[in-house]
């Protein structure tokens, strides 16, 4: 008699596919929030599996801050072409030009927080009633409490006290007009799970994740890539370093670590013995102790 048990990756995959199918079944106009980072790439891959042999029946949405790594944009465009998928882009630059948001200034300026406005506007404009993202509960304190189906009010806001109980696998996606849901199919995946899955399934990811010689400056405990979007101080010394990025945010806030992990296997080994959390080098999270929670309350991813 065979052993009817699944490995943890198989079980997590089955759960995520189940959640994605529920979204399609329960909502009229869902979308996948695609950042070009490994988590949203994995969610997209899972969505392909969920609907195979049909195409993914809804679009990918990218909130473009204008401050992306060029590699991320290229990767996105290639993936869309290969999948024959629909891409909807929300532009933060456009929000700035329209006066909807004001650009930050100063040494630590970033467009990260501005994304929330663009995201909410894009959702409203396209009438998306459910947006799926690659957020995981192990990433950050404020995400540890998230549900799979996260209800957002008509301002797009998240209230931790109002999250619905989620029992068994019965997801309640009912809502009023104007409200929407964020859904996180890989809520139970850890960073290590994501990497192991990428390896197992041979999923293509941007080369930023792999170690390469890059032009960087040392700032706030990590190697920040030199780009047209950051302000250099007189004391900054740009140098070429073998650096890789563990998480991909905007080029202005994503710090890399020194590494020689230029293959998936080496990355996995490094992550396994790592003493720092994945988002430890995210400047946006460091702004305050409750940075993520505050942004979520306002409607962030």
């Amino acid at each position: 008699m065979s052993n009817y048990s699944l490995t943890h990756l198989e079980e997590l995959e089955a759960e995520a596919i189940y959640v994605i199918r529920e979204v399609y079944a329960q909502f009229d106009n869902p979308a996948i929030l695609f950042s070009g980072g490994k988590d949203s790439i994995v969610v997209t891959h899972l969505a392909r599996k969920a609907f195979w042999p049909a195409k993914i029946p809804f679009p990918l949405v990218h909130i473009d801050t204008g401050h992306n790594f060029p590699e991320t944009m290229e990767f996105r465009d290639n993936l869309i072409k290969e999948m024959g998928a629909n891409l909807v882009v929300g532009s933060v630059q456009q929000s700035i030009d329209e006066g909807a948001v004001v650009e930050e200034t100063g040494m630590n300026a970033s467009r990260n927080a501005l994304q929330t406005t663009t995201l909410l506007d894009t959702i409203e404009f396209n009438n998306f009633d459910a947006c799926m993202g690659g957020a995981r509960r192990d990433e950050e304190k404020a995400r540890a409490k998230e549900r799979f189906f996260s209800h957002r009010d008509d301002f797009g806001q998240w209230d931790p006290k109002n999250q619905r109980p989620e029992l068994w696998n019965l997801f309640n996606g009912k809502k009023r007009m104007g409200e929407h849901f964020r859904v996180f199919p890989i809520s139970n995946w850890t960073e290590m799970d994501v990497w192991q899955y990428i390896l197992k399934e041979n999923i293509a990811i941007p080369e930023l994740y792999f170690a390469k010689e890059r032009n960087v400056i040392w700032r706030n405990g990590s190697w920040l890539p030199v780009s047209e979007f950051i302000t250099l101080k007189d004391t900054d010394e740009p140098q070429m370093k073998m650096v890789r990025f563990r998480t991909l945010g905007d080029i202005t806030i994503t710090g890399g670590q020194e590494s020689d992990a230029d293959t998936l296997e080496k990355i996995i080994q490094e992550v396994a013995s790592s003493r720092q959390t994945e988002r430890g080098n995210r400047e946006d999270d460091k702004r305050s102790e409750s940075a993520m929670e505050d942004r979520k309350r306002q409607g962030y991813f």
């Binding site: 048990s5 195979w52 102790e289």
Partner: protein, 413 residues
Amino acid sequence: MELLRFTTAGSVDDGKSTLIGRLLYDSKSIFEDQVQQIEQTSKKKGLEHVDLSLFTDGLKDEREQGITIDVAYRYFATPKRKFIIADTPGHVQYTRNMVTGASTANLALILVDARNGVIEQTKRHTFIASLLQIPHIFVCINKMDLVDYSQEAYDKVVKEYTDFAAKLNVKDVRFVPMSALHGDNVVSRGDNMSWYEGGTLLHNLETVHISSDHNLRDCRFPVQTVIRPHSDEYHDFRGYAGRVAGGIFKKGDSVVALPSGLESKIAAIHTMTGELEEAFPPQSVTITLEDDIDISRGDVLVRSENRPEGQQDLDVMLCWLNTNPPRPRAKYVIKHTTAEARAMITDIQYKMDINTLHRMEEDKAIKMNDIARVKIRSTKPLFVDDYNVNRVTGSIILVDEATNETVAAGMIR
């Protein structure tokens, strides 16, 4: 390696958060920057030692008040298993959170203070674990350092708990004496309790047998959605996508679609990476049939010789999750696997006093966190199983149409 989901329940003072912090810390699953953050916050609070419970208190309010107010999911892995912890609050007003975390758990950790033994909360949590049919319960008898690591104190608690749990339907109960604060028997044994012959908590978590916990006997495949590519390559493909809720489906099996009763055979079991010869819970697959019969979301595929009966009158153990009590004759949406109908609570037979396990037949006023046995009438037949036979097909939720809130969780008897 397998995945194990477990809940942790205990009061604020039992040291549950310290236990989780210790589990993660000793198994090297907490990262340096997280430790630094806790150290900084502990200092700011004027504490002498690093407060490991700070690691699990995630939200602002909680950190300010020093208590946990929601379900927090923690993840760690050892070379033997991957673990998901659903950390739930101990206060009675958060029963709904505990029920949430417990619903998908393989195992419950129940924390008891060695000095106080079995208290009201212990009974309540144990009852909930039993009600939610969590297959394994580990009773952590904590703060053994405060009773001089006495075997007598441990034995006393074991006896108290065993006597209480005898009245319930709990299958596998184990006991571990420990000190989460000092680390004894959580991940490492320590030297203080050489009289204890069982394994550490972590050892038990890594080795407990869980692969028989799914129902592999009764075939149940609730259809989530129908997949129709309409493409050149898959022009006639009509696949029923869903997650196996019970039993083992094999290619070639004769199946019946309910409620229609139409029969066919499984032509193939598809996944993107290839066809499967058989599918079992909790796999997500797409099934194609030999005949073109009309099946849609909410229908369930079963074997002819093992059909659940469609029931409109349901006998349910209900846990009320909402601040507002049920209104008499109110109509709710009832969700059962992928099916949906409307329903009414037609009779309240009794409430459970979960401290004494007595049935209270006079007090029928259901409030938040109450557990009651009720009769529910649904507008259409639902193909349910008893909850203690199958947790997926034996569970329902009620949704209030006016507020869209999930107001109750129910287990079919």
